[in-house]
Symmetry: C2
Subunit: 416 residues, 2 copies
């Protein structure tokens, strides 16, 4: 009998969990610097709420973990962090507006498992509810850029478009019956390139070249689209003021959730083909779930994607653990001293393990090494008498003999 | 249409979430100081795994959120963090032992909602797998004491007992048919006092006084129990070495999960009647889920309980937000300057919001005040010309006029 994580999910063992936690920490502290406030909500929500997004209705059941509780209440694991936010905003009208909140927690989708896609994955969201200013959109994007800078990304960029322009284009194409097919094709432009998409559009019975030309920057030379792109131009001005204009790429082929977004839309690209999140303005959602009419904008990062790309590109420090010191002892008689040393190091804020077994010293060193702990303090009877202990650097296997105060000083200073 | 959190669950809005996050941070950094490594596991597990704990079997369905996925896999939201740990240890035999891990995540139980009890609640667990030394138990308890110290608790204590002593007592009572009833009665000693429990035991048909005397410290004067209490005595020696003996209370009436624990058992008491966690040694669990025979001990803190007690006892700083500065502006023409100041403060690590609306200054100050932001920088056209800005202390409503460099210095230094 061997148990595995449920299909489509995974564990993060200590080495990975340490790295993943670092991502969460960087994301959180940056979100907080931008004045976003934390929010915690339950993992599951009423099915009624979940089905209210973008007119999904019953169809959402196919894509989520749906279940009933013992009183036959219809529930589902949340598939994003926006619907919980909408619920919170609606049922807490006392919250000051603009309401700037962040939330970093797992969400669940019943997707087919594939590379870099899990049924449980972590999202890190920032949203601003109650400001219709493009400044709010620009601040969100600036914050996301700082997160990616802090994590060490250099090649990333943000694709940006405005749904008001897209809607006008679709109107002008007069193809209301095949809008979704066209948009699905256009949406692949980033992934599959112009030739493939042109072909697909031709196969749908359209003039592929004409449509592709329409959804390109040239369109903005026409007055009708230029007018619809007012927010887009303002946005570009603002991100210039925020100092991140070079990270922003205007892309009229970017669509995202037709039913949902109402203004600027964004997609975060880590360079290459890896998208790690997106968002935009959704001014209709709050009303949909019963709130007063409240404009809203926000963006969501997929932390599992970011984690995988960072691992692949060796962007993490090579260390396996944050535990800095292992305190080894050679016999039980000096246990008191071993505990004293360990506790002294901990009082100084140094993360350490002590020996919890009756293993000999060699086995203890092997253990410390397998965990990846970089320094070992060796406590023996002789050492206790002399009040000097061996500090062993596990990398170069060198040992020095120093007293406890010096061990504290040394280990605080040591980088690894 | 107004949506609420599902029955038995709750949201933590920013003010509470900020406080709750502080608890998580303190708990985590202390766990890490003690050399525990992080672990993340999925929110749900196979029902087969969940039902393996303490021989619960099918009965566990009544107490958990049970559901099937679309391929009819039987799943359930985890009800603790120990079963996921057991699964991880079993399916990853390469993990070095002792395996010291921490996990701080929500768990779910289908309890009847009541005061300080929710259907989703946060647990913070430390466990040591692969050491049968009582030193491991003592280290866990020492770590928990440091967590509670760091959070500001003073009156807390740890009740401790040994299941080996309890088992001997139950054997000697020769009451195998009513063991559970007796244990349930004894377990109430802490909550309801001697008189009530004596009565209950009498009603069960036993000599209440005799049983109560048995489950008291006097029992350890008898050789048979003294021998069974060997680990308990060693534990008391060790916690003396760790410097926390005064926090430990021997309590022979402490039982906890009959089917599950095999040695020392613990309960964490915050003073008064509030228990906020417990644990003990469970040397049989790993074998039950298919691992090699591996001893294990650990302890679990209930963070929601801790949060509620800390709020009740006003143990949190009174601040409503961690956002330190609000940058107000009086018109759009000086937006560039407003952004420059905000971004400068953020670059220095100061958490701040800027105005995202077209409100007048009074409204902006009201907003900052409602969020609880303690300082406001006021940017106006005059100020921009002079390169001096007003820094307003929202508490005493005093304003000083200083330049940007001075604002940075001031706000970094300001405590709130």
């Amino acid at each position: 009998m061997k148990f595995q994580p449920p299909k489509g999910t995974r564990d993060l063992l200590p080495e990975d969990a340490t790295k993943f936690q670092k991502i969460i920490d960087v994301v959180r502290s940056t979100f907080e610097k931008y004045g976003f406030e934390p929010l915690f909500t339950p993992a599951f929500e009423s099915f009624e709420l979940l089905s209210a997004k973008g007119g999904l209705g019953e169809a959402v059941k196919d894509e989520i973990y749906y279940f009933k509780d013992k009183s036959d209440r219809e529930l589902g694991l949340r598939f994003d962090l926006t619907m919980p936010l909408a619920r919170v905003v609606t049922s807490n009208p006392q919250l000051p507006k603009p309401f700037k909140r962040y939330q970093i927690e797992p969400v669940w989708r019943y997707d087919n498992p594939q590379s870099m896609r899990w049924r449980q994955f972590w999202q890190a969201d920032i949203d601003i509810v109650g400001s219709n200013s493009v400044l709010a959109d620009a601040e969100c994007i600036t914050c996301i850029c700082e997160v990616l800078d802090e994590l060490g990304f250099r090649e990333y960029f943000i694709r940006v478009n405005d749904r008001k322009v897209v809607d006008q284009m679709l109107k002008d194409l007069k193809v209301s019956d095949k809008i979704n097919e066209i948009m699905r094709a256009i949406d692949k432009l980033d992934k599959f390139g112009k030739e493939k998409v042109k072909e697909e559009l031709n196969n749908l019975g359209f003039d592929g070249i004409k449509i592709l030309n329409l959804f390109s920057e040239k369109a903005l030379e026409e007055k009708v689209y230029k007018e619809k792109a007012k927010d887009l131009f303002t946005f570009l001005e603002y991100v210039e003021l925020f100092g991140i204009k070079k990270k922003v790429k205007l892309d009229l082929s970017l669509v995202r959730g037709l039913e949902y977004y109402t203004g600027l839309v964004f997609e975060v690209n880590l360079g290459g083909k890896a998208s790690c999140g997106g968002g935009g303005r959704y001014d209709n959602l709050m009303k949909t779930v019963g709130s007063q009419d409240l404009p809203a904008t926000g963006i969501s990062l997929g932390l599992d994607r970011i984690f995988e790309v960072m691992k692949e590109n060796k962007m993490f420090e090579p260390r396996k653990t944050d535990t800095k010191v292992f305190v080894a002892n050679v016999n039980q008689e000096i246990l008191a001293e071993t505990i004293r040393i360990t506790e002294k190091l901990r009082k100084e804020g140094i993360s350490c393990q002590m020996n919890l077994t009756d293993r000999n010293l060699t086995k203890q060193l092997e253990y410390a090494d397998s965990i990846g702990i970089p320094f070992v303090v060796i406590v023996g009877s002789e050492e206790v008498k002399k009040n000097k202990f061996k500090l062993r650097d596990m990398k170069n296997k060198k040992e020095i003999e120093i007293n406890l105060e010096e061990i504290v000083k040394k280990t605080i200073a040591l980088n690894f």
